[in-house]
Symmetry: C2
Amino acid sequence: MSLVATPKDRAALGAFYRRVLLDDVIPFWLRHGLDREHGGMLTCLDRDGALLDTDKSIWFQGRAAWMFATLWLTVERRGEWLDAARSCVEFLRRHGHGPEGKMWFSVTRDGRPLRMRRYVYSEAFAAIAFAAWARATGDERAAEEARRAFETYLRTSFEPGVMTPKFEPTRPSKGVGSLMIGIVTAQELREHLGDAPVGGRAPTEWIDGFIGEIERDFLKREHRALMETVAPDGSVLDHIDGRTLNPGHAIECAWFVLEEARRRRDARMASLGVEILDGMWERGWDPVHGGLLYFTDLLGRPVQEYWHDMKFWWPHCEAIIATLMAWRMTGEDRHAVRHRLVHEWSFRHFPDPEHGEWFGYLHRDGTVSQGAKGNLFKGPFHLPRMLWMGMRLMEGR
Amino acid sequence: MSLVATPKDRAALGAFYRRVLLDDVIPFWLRHGLDREHGGMLTCLDRDGALLDTDKSIWFQGRAAWMFATLWLTVERRGEWLDAARSCVEFLRRHGHGPEGKMWFSVTRDGRPLRMRRYVYSEAFAAIAFAAWARATGDERAAEEARRAFETYLRTSFEPGVMTPKFEPTRPSKGVGSLMIGIVTAQELREHLGDAPVGGRAPTEWIDGFIGEIERDFLKREHRALMETVAPDGSVLDHIDGRTLNPGHAIECAWFVLEEARRRRDARMASLGVEILDGMWERGWDPVHGGLLYFTDLLGRPVQEYWHDMKFWWPHCEAIIATLMAWRMTGEDRHAVRHRLVHEWSFRHFPDPEHGEWFGYLHRDGTVSQGAKGNLFKGPFHLPRMLWMGMRLMEGR
């Protein structure tokens, strides 16, 4: 029933993830995405790798630098990986920052600014990029840049009044996204730079705070649901936006919590991660066509976002990691069964048999909606991170 | 082959549109949408009319007021229509405006502000609402409110530096949307308040300017395409956003131009409208499943917006109007054939056989993606306007 029943199964699964990562996905992005002219990573690529748009997302300079530096640190000392990471790090340094230090959302191929957004995920991804780069190369300046980017992230996300508000103060709300990304960013900083304070607290303290707030304000045990958005006091906002759940996002959150629990050998924290995963798997898994629905409604009502029932690549990547990690930590069958379900659904529908890598956007029934390999939001991150995590989990790490 | 071949066919089609409008669509919104407690129109309604969200869009207070006042002016003097229009006009007056006179995008049920957006479509819809209301009731204050709303629309849309920019100045662009909505808003003001200057020019002069700019900068004859976004000098921006076409939107623009041509008996202008319609029909009509695709790419490349191949109700409404009007004006068969195609596809897939009105959001293959009757963007506008226009066109008006 599962792909992880015997040591031999596990070795085969790990070898499979390694092969897809190193022979398919990473070569695709090195060949087609790495910008040998202006540096950095181009992600708007067609099915065959042809360039659809020269614009670059700043998110992806950080995400790609992190991925390549991490491969160099944990898999093999391949020069081309370190070079790719360097190219993205240098692009970030030259072109990442706006006049007041906040980072751009997108820039032209040669780094001229196109768009600034309210939120600060560019900063979170830059922080993990600089941290991994500092660890890989001993570059002290990068360590400082990582801390500074995380400080901007923390200040803009959590200090009242810093982020430009999207809504009027009539109905205040807060999102789970900044807490989740706070966890994984703090984890990476601690991994590479140690647990010394950043923005006034040790990364471990930040993580405690984020997980505490998620459990207290976003987890609704009576609904078996993790909310995306709640009122500042954690109450449910019974409006379309307030009821909208993002199962893949919550499942990603679940494994950030599981990862922390595993590192600390904290059984209570582990059971919190499993609780989020169990509830949101039940809400997200499509009983008709399989795969994970993008959005669902807390009360089962219609969802307003047009792509609510599409199947995106990234929630499937996150669910493969989460189910595999939950199985590794608990040994409980349901996680192995779910891992097999989402692994098999994903590898049946997302890979492009002709040009490699994964399609990103499928209809509910699993047919391809559009065949491009990337855009400003899809590039070398969720898929290679999943393959890398899967490989390592099966290697016992 | 067509639904309009004989006078008897045309009478039957007109009667059909009238019946759906007066026996199904308008009663649905009066029964479920009209807010008898706080006034104005609620649009976030489930399939059966149950309230999904109490938030109100300011767009829809104007759109609904315009629709109900227009029915009162042109179809019958029904008191419940005038009452509905009054309720929305009064809600707009009480709760529509932010501190600096710009109108909100959304408010709570009782009118407290939720969101301000950069753009000014709330103002355009308020302008046509106040204009029709002034005509229906002789309310001089409303005529002045209509002019003021249109002035805000014009200043914010076209005076450089007034609208908060979304992008940095690196790659300037302009959209066809403000010109299109400018045309139809000026037409309504002229219809109800005459052609006296507003914002420094007569409505007819504004319309001349808008149509001229659309033809000069947005129509690409070599591609048989009307662009959504171009550089300020009209050149194509060869990036994903710049190449993205919205066939339903362009087809709506086509009938705004045809309407103007018909009023002026201007053959050159009529052929411009037909040219836009012909080109964008060919680009939008789905050869596989029928219906109109939401977005396509100028060069046939993948489109980034996730819902690019979904079938939304409103482009179908606009295409029914445009093809019928083009047929009425030219007598050419291809328009009658296309009208029949889009009419039959729409009435086969969008109506809800159980609770009436139309579903808004279908998958590419015509199956329902989500069954709600409304949200902040769908309410009593595109569908009743199409039925009203179709009925009048078949009655020879």
